[in-house]
């Protein structure tokens, strides 16, 4: 009888029809967001997808560092007067980002917006075509802008460093995906996947299996492997291929080392798994700056599952990541790190 029970459960599961899939594509936060919801009730699925879009639009207005966003207005006020007033939600995000920055040893530092602007990576178009003037970059690096220069008291921001310009580019997409998951849960969703380019979070499962996310291969193109994501798990990939240009035979990309103001070296991409999107987003960027998948460096952030693609195409995989990762090419050179 005991042996028959699992068989009966399997037979019943096999008979259960798959939940209808509802999928939508949105353009938000300067990227493509794909949302997949498994939901038997079409009306409820519509509500869930509408809630996702509302959450994304809110995040877009809140986190835009240039233009007309709330953060952009705060940046302008900080630059002009050294103080600014923001919503409780933006203040909470900045407190969170500052705490992550501190725990990462400031390898993740959203206070370097002026450097990003100097390189020309702050806007979608046109793409920069040459590096900034070395003297201008050196002068800005000497002023050492950092989110550690910001004090946050309730909704009141203040700084004594006029070079501070907050750019949540390595935090906002992850935080936006977190907000979409909260909206989906609030609208009764149990199984969903939200993918905002390099930042993805899963809710529940896809039928009888976990959600599967393919990791793009920055070296060869195509897909290097896939990750199984558990309920509430998020994955983030940060890579040097997202935005880049060539100048006099050298390649420059958009991920900057906060202390030098120059693009990171050593790795093509870093992928991390974490319990929330904002943390995964920040940790993937910190990994690029640190130049290693050695999770010891990222453990202060609470992240242990790390995969890095080195400049020569070899892989570094942390032990925790190894258990979740299925490689497409099992013969590929791989180094396991703690």
């Amino acid at each position: 009888m005991k042996r028959a029970l699992p068989l009966a459960a399997l037979a019943l599961a096999a008979c259960t029809p798959p939940l209808p899939e509802h999928r939508v594509q949105l353009y938000a936060l300067h990227t493509l967001v794909e949302v997949t919801v498994l939901e038997p009730d079409p009306a409820r699925a519509r509500d869930q997808l509408a809630a996702v879009e509302a959450a994304l639009r809110t995040a877009e207005r809140r986190y835009a560092a240039w233009g007309n966003g709330e953060l952009a207005r705060a940046n302008a006020a900080l630059a002009a007067r050294g103080e600014a007033a923001v919503s409780a939600e933006l203040a909470a995000a900045l407190r969170d980002a500052r705490a992550l920055g501190e725990r990462s040893g400031w390898s993740f530092d959203p206070g370097i917006g002026r450097m990003v602007e100097l390189w020309g990576f702050h806007r979608d178009q046109p793409s920069p075509t040459r590096p900034p003037d070395p003297a201008a970059l050196a002068a800005l690096v000497a002023r050492a802008p950092s989110l550690s220069d910001l004090t946050i008291d309730g909704g009141a921001l203040a700084t004594a460093n006029p070079a501070l310009w907050i750019d949540l580019g390595a935090y906002a997409k992850g935080a936006a995906v977190d907000a979409t998951l909260a909206a989906l849960r609030a609208h009764g969703a149990r199984d969903a996947l939200v993918a905002a380019a390099g930042d993805l979070c899963a809710l529940g499962r896809r039928g009888l299996r976990a959600w599967r996310v393919g990791i793009r291969d920055p070296a060869a193109g195509g897909v290097l492997g896939s990750l199984a994501l558990g309920d509430g798990e998020c994955v983030s990939t940060s890579g040097d291929y997202e935005r880049a240009f060539e100048w006099q035979g050298a390649r420059y990309h958009h991920l900057l080392v906060p202390r030098s103001g120059r693009p990171t070296v050593g790795l093509r991409s870093v992928t991390v798994v974490a319990t929330r999107g904002a943390l995964a987003d920040a940790a993937a960027t910190a990994g690029m700056v640190l130049g290693t998948a050695d999770a010891v460096a990222l453990r202060a952030l609470g992240v242990v599952a790390v995969l890095a693609v080195r400049a020569d195409g070899t892989l570094e995989v942390s032990r925790a990541m190894r258990s979740q990762l299925t490689l497409g090419d099992r013969t590929r050179a791989l180094r396991e790190v703690p």
């Binding site: 493509l32 046109p126 380019a197 599967r212 994955v235 935005r243 992928t271």
Partner: protein, 120 residues
Amino acid sequence: MIGRGDALVLAACAALIAASFVLLAPRAGVARSALVETSRGERRELALDRDARLAFVGRRGLTTVEVRDRQARILDSACEQKLCLRAGWLVRAGESSACLPNGVTLRLLGADPDYDALTL
């Protein structure tokens, strides 16, 4: 009491049921068609058994999609960095490529895709 004939019929039924699982179950990762979606709301499913080269109007211009030998790829697109071209031929269900500046995406559909989404 089950006779020899009954046992044979039962065994044949069991074999038929087992074979149906293998023969009728969707094959994991096998692509059925290619789906092209644009930010202008166009959505078109392309059969993979018919070679074709089609242009789609995006935000900045045209994105050309090619289907050949049951594979699909973005052949060219009105964008600067051409990241979408780096993805190359898409073969397995779940593989995708996107030209974000032009707002055009290409994805292979299938019953049990290898990937539910890709990191960019």
